[in-house]
Chain length 398, copies 2
């Protein structure tokens, strides 16, 4: 069975490696060999072992009827969308690791796949090496999923873990993560939570069966988290993690991406460094959690190749994923309820005037005080905290 | 689509509940309703909501051509084997939660299913609510699995967690677990590791593609673990867990079930109470872990119903599981290497005479001393420890 890779970067080259290193078991599992025929990339790779597979025009792959499976590891919405669409329309099944593409064009591409009786899958788009997509679409199918909480961005989890362990401040850790290659030159997509937002949009689409627009999800990153916040967290016996959450509310879901203060008995408390984990609560299943590498060339490629085995086993058998193009109207995020940890320069009497009796959690700081509110809706909290004033930072509790 | 349940106990009645409670999403996911037509049980259930479905003769189900999917939740090898075989031969797909049946007759039943172009699946047989079977057979298919370490028995993990937290001794905790219904009257299968042994035999069969005989796996339970062992563990900053392990060794695997001393950074260290977790290391994927309820009526039923959705989606489409009837010759367990924690009444000079320089980990006990050996094969360790004598207990380190 002939296959092609579009995009010969970190993940694409990882896919070529996995196909080579695990050739024997893959052949056994598929029933025939997965033979790499093309690699699409505009760059030249002189001396590369796959040099002879390299092509610069996607139509070369589209036109080749022998190619049944195409891997998209280019990233970004365009030209990935145009290329993937053309492959599906040419009767080829596609797997992608590209969460931007799936979050933006997932419903449309699944519809095109359905019409052309091929499959479009994307295990590597969320949680790298964690097989969370197939867990939701093919394993936890007996359940109504009531909650997902995910640490699904390795860059930010690495940074938060290091801030916690070393007491460093945000800017310092960002520079270090960039020098180690864990954070990009422009780290916005990671540190501002956009990446996590796209991922929870994809997961919420899968569990609801409808299309979630990631623009509807309130998203905060970690760029405002400071060394002082971690000092408070330590005093409270908690850790700070960037969570991407969705929770069932009536017929729909309520979503948010934000840093949260986690207790040690929270399932995600111990998830450290670049590792990712997804907590899922089902109405029958109860608690479950899936943990693994969130990124990296080989773990992500492993997920892509797992998808290739799936596609090879299901040639001419379109498999239902259950994510329609109908839009899911998310529940109003202003009605979500949390306890909030607040740092403020306001006085104790001012605090109690607005928030009533609260739990104080103070460090030896002259000009501020920290406290945890009772459970309030986002809406109530906003009103009271703006009335209070002097807010230095706010982190929700989970 | 008509379905039947064989065995109306804890899990079987859970399956009936899940089918009822989640009827709407199940119908959506399958494309038609899963209608419960028969429940096979020798007992009477007067007043039960499914009373009219109850039958006493399995041939009533075999003969009914409308029934396409049968659930086996009776437990034990016979008569479950006879009944399941008859269902498969009658062209019905089967899912079972029965690890004894799968460990003993799995290869044979899969072969019968293949011949009759139906499916035989068993997600609930290992790890209850953790979808570990499908994760291995349908998700991590890009990898060669190099290691599995599993906490896959809720009873023993509950007991060990309580011994650790309360300092209780084994007999006391067993009585408590029995009174709470967490341990059976005859707890042998759980506490002596037989249940975990069958489960790791199943998982090793799945990753190797060959049939593992559970009788070949050296198995120790927790019945010799004492409150004193936990005092030593605490002094070493470790926890004691019953692990079921397999590790790739050349072309085969090396397996063992035994209590192990785990460090806090071990992926399974924090798995407490009745929860289960499976650690998997793939050659491309690296570390991953899957956590959830190991038992219980609804979590286990959730896995069974997930299988029913799979079976319904694959009527007339036999799906390859990749577990042949050829026997896997496991690697010689005597060649496995570990560090061993040893309690002995021997003197320090006797210890160092046999084991050279060791790490002592002593409590304030008059008549014994604890130490950790260097890494040794099982074989070497046995020789040296029997030469030393005065052994009170031995626990391996992981």
């Amino acid at each position: 069975m002939k296959v092609a890779i579009m995009g010969y970067g970190t993940i694409g080259s990882g896919v070529a490696k996995v196909l080579e290193i695990n050739k024997e078991v893959l052949t056994e599992r598929v029933g025939e060999a997965l033979e790499l025929k093309y690699i699409l990339d505009l760059r030249d790779f002189p001396g590369d072992p796959y040099e002879k597979c390299l092509v610069k025009y996607y139509m070369d792959i589209v036109k080749d009827k022998e190619v049944k499976i195409v891997v998209e590891t280019m990233g970004g919405v365009e030209p990935a969308f145009t290329f993937v669409k053309a492959m599906l329309e040419a009767g080829k099944s596609v797997t992608t690791s590209n969460k931007a593409l799936v979050a933006d064009k997932g419903s449309e591409l699944m519809e095109i796949a359905r019409k052309n009786k091929v499959n479009f899958v994307f295990e590597a788009a969320v949680g790298g090496g964690i097989p969370i997509i197939r867990t939701i679409t093919a394993c936890l199918t007996g359940d109504v999923i009531e909650e997902i909480s995910a640490i699904c961005n390795g860059t930010t989890n690495y940074m938060l873990t290091n801030m916690e362990e070393n007491g460093s401040d945000y800017a310092e850790i960002l520079a270090e993560a960039q020098s180690l290659g864990y954070a990009e030159k422009d780290p916005t997509a990671d540190v501002e939570g956009h990446d996590s937002c796209r991922k929870i949009a994809i997961l919420t689409s899968l569990i609801s069966g409808k299309a979630v627009d990631f623009n509807d999800i309130p998203t905060e990153g970690i760029s405002k988290i400071s060394a002082t916040d971690f000092k408070y967290a330590k005093a409270m016996g908690r850790s700070i993690k960037l969570l991407a959450r969705c929770e069932k509310l009536g017929d729909t879901y309520s979503c948010r991406v934000a840093p949260f203060l986690l207790k040690p008995n929270h399932t995600l408390y111990h998830v450290a460094g670049v590792m990712n984990a997804v907590y899922i609560r089902g109405n029958m299943l109860g608690d479950s959690m899936y943990y693994g590498a969130g990124a990296g060339s080989l773990p992500t490629a492993s997920a892509v190749v797992g998808d290739m085995v799936f596609l090879a086993r299901n040639i001419d058998k379109p498999v239902k994923i259950g994510w329609d193009s109908e839009k899911l109207e998310l529940a109003d995020p202003a009605m979500q309820k949390y306890k909030y940890f607040v740092r403020t320069s306001a006085s104790q009497s001012e605090i109690e005037n607005e928030f009533g009796k609260v739990d104080y959690s103070t460090l030896d700081l002259d000009d501020e005080v920290g406290f945890v509110t009772a459970e309030l809706t986002e809406c109530e909290f906003k009103q009271r905290s703006s009335a209070l004033g002097g807010i230095i930072s706010v982190i929700r509790l989970a």
